[in-house]
Symmetry: C2
Subunit: 514 residues, 2 copies
Amino acid sequence: MTVAIADGERTADPAAGRTRTARHLGIDTGQEPVVYLHRDSQVVHSEGFATETRVQVTAGARTILATLNVVTSSLLGIEDVGLSDAAWQRLAVAEGAGVEVAHPPPLDSLGLVRAKIYGRRLEADSLDAIVRDIAELRYSDIYLASFITACAGGRMDHQEVVNLTLAMIRAGERLRWDAPRVFDKHSVGGLPGNRTSLIVVPIVAAAGLLMPKTSSRAITSPAGTADTMETLAPVDLDLAAMRRVVEREGGCLVWGGRARLSPADDVLIRVERPLDLDSPAQLVASVLSKKAAAGATHVLIDLPVGTTAKVRSYGEAERLSGHLRDVGAAIGLEVLPVVTHGAQPIGRGIGPALEARDALAVLQGGVEAPADLRERALLLAGHLFEMAGAVPAGSGQGMARVILEDGRAWKKFQAICEAQGGMRVPPVAPFTCPVPAQRAGHVGVIDNRRLGRVAKLAGAPHDPAAGLELHVRLGDQVTAGQPLYTIHAAAPGELDYALAYAESADGIIGMQDA
Amino acid sequence: MTVAIADGERTADPAAGRTRTARHLGIDTGQEPVVYLHRDSQVVHSEGFATETRVQVTAGARTILATLNVVTSSLLGIEDVGLSDAAWQRLAVAEGAGVEVAHPPPLDSLGLVRAKIYGRRLEADSLDAIVRDIAELRYSDIYLASFITACAGGRMDHQEVVNLTLAMIRAGERLRWDAPRVFDKHSVGGLPGNRTSLIVVPIVAAAGLLMPKTSSRAITSPAGTADTMETLAPVDLDLAAMRRVVEREGGCLVWGGRARLSPADDVLIRVERPLDLDSPAQLVASVLSKKAAAGATHVLIDLPVGTTAKVRSYGEAERLSGHLRDVGAAIGLEVLPVVTHGAQPIGRGIGPALEARDALAVLQGGVEAPADLRERALLLAGHLFEMAGAVPAGSGQGMARVILEDGRAWKKFQAICEAQGGMRVPPVAPFTCPVPAQRAGHVGVIDNRRLGRVAKLAGAPHDPAAGLELHVRLGDQVTAGQPLYTIHAAAPGELDYALAYAESADGIIGMQDA
């Protein structure tokens, strides 16, 4: 039977837009919100919904986009709306509350992503539209994967990266500090154990400079600065709490995600992680948008170079330095790139708690403290002092050393931890196992990437105590059977998994004949 | 407490790999299999699993890769393994059967996708490895989205497309027919209503040529040939059933997905659909791998050109023709590209059942049959007769016309439908609504893409009866208020949604002053 509906008589189906009952299903679907509707639900029929349809869910004043999964069992009442953990949190509803499910408005910015894939340049307004939708969590994971891939591999020019950076800043909060100059630092990843921020921030803040440091969690590495700091103090502070810490101590070491600084960056990072993609364009936009949004005016960027670090050659570091300086200048940031050696991990630990212990040893001035971590932190802090004009060129490192050695940095670090919510003792892994040298020789090469992978397979950064402790450095003479490193894990399954990989992957620590 | 486990003493944790109880949760997650484990499950702790971890699930001889969702409620017993519909079907287990969940081996081909993103060419063995993993459903949706994006926008050269095509053929079944020459055709999409296969196959088969036609479902269009044919007869035939039909009738019109012909293509299409990406490289590899795997030796490819068709210019059609011919030659297929006009839809219907009715009218020789669809089908059938050497050049179309007009094609079509499982009457949508001209004038332009979008918003191809019926053609004189087309929908919600878009999107059918 065909029912012709004349114009004007069209009325919405009573089922469409009707309020349904929210059910917290208790399913963690990750970042992407998922909504569950029963196959026999009226709205599924009236709206033509199917699994993977993108739907708009409204509860009170809050509206989110989600991906639909159709339920074919009695898991859910026919007129219930099941919500995944991400959907539940973002809608902030109570069990049984009323929600509405409808078709979302068309997501026009996807057409701009397609244009980019086909080689068109993205203009400022296009990037604004894309980044706004990403920050508002309107992109499903496959849209995010496509956008990240389309912009990777050198497919963004200078102006696009500038505009992407500005769009990422605009899509979130922007902090203002009551100071003419605000200092910050960032180390480009890929070098395990490079946890200098935990030492640089207290040195610089102890000298009276303002350094409100926000960090991200690991993208593809076994630990980010926020993961490491979290084993020592709370890092999940809101803006007001962060401001109180900085006003009191002149510096902080917090996770930037909670503060909604460049929130699109956090969304992108969650998909870059499984893709293991972190392209120069995204890197520059990610780092500088976070720093500018955090209110920095002067930013030092540490670029460790090594064949298995993120930056693989000095030529690449030079190019990246140029990008960072140029994009910084275009958005009003003074950027100082510092190229450092990255042939081997810094310190001994790899993994949040193990790296935290290295930083503590340096701050406390212990004789067993890793010298490479200390010297690198002093180099960077020195550059910041010179950038600030606090000392003549060449004298910054000496000033930093005095502040570390006389205990002011350690005192400042403890004060920052207390201000952030109280200092903690990093956890210790219950399961460990040494990995011995197969033969005698001296250590010729260390593969940072595969060593990082061992630490990740052992559970880092998900298990903060997991990772590995390195016993040798480049050039060391070792005998057959001597432990090269010790794997730390929170569970035997992960220990086995990491060990199986360590044993199968030849040359993670490459031996040369003595 | 640190438990040092000496080498040799390491034993797998008793929880790891232990058999757990399969539960069919009744959640349709689409193509990507999802596994649900309770947060307090031993395997989650011992293996360090978290939401979005990729896991390997084994039941008897079957093993799949799946994405983990951690359950935080009592939805699932603590030692149960919940399986989504896709996981359940692919494991083919019974409720309560034993399954094991473990870390999967590393998916090495992802490194090759990353190399492509960074601009490296993909060699034959790399494409084999990637396509094999895709065909075996080892890629999550975000990996698929990244691979599709990395290969889109002209980033594959000739040899890469040849190797991709060969890899796609090798990853599935390949049919062999007991005949020296096997004919096939394909129309590149983007032109709504271009359903010539339903007419060409019976004409060609009635003349004694072998034409075992496999079609795909819609990628980004409101109907694919398989969707349309399915409203007239079963298309979901396995290889043995398809072979019986072809041996009896000389031709068939079946869905190619069930036959495991180029199965990676079907996987890729499911992610290309929401991305709305269908790049030339993927298009050539998709079309030719399907045709070669189906055993074709001679393939005609219809390339409709129009500013709003998939192929937008004659220059682009020329380039695509060259690609198709060259890649065809490299894999041993004789390919004849035929460039046709694509400025407006073919026939009247857009949507599976509405397009099927147009094809039936042509086959039955009704006076109301759309002449454009008939003439286009005769042109293509004629080219196939000339390609086969059945008639001298220039006489193919005449031969096709005779077979259509004397009723042999209609008889053959009915016989094919019966052989495929029985002829059906296409469904009729219960809700319809006309879209009137806003002003008088003549029809100057028809936007195929946005018209296709109206049909999709109305529910096509998910609802086979949904779509639209076009009442005007380019150049027609219309008065204000005269219906331009009528939307058909299975539900009022979809009718409203399509109508709202039709009314908001200006110029889908563009009027010029009379």
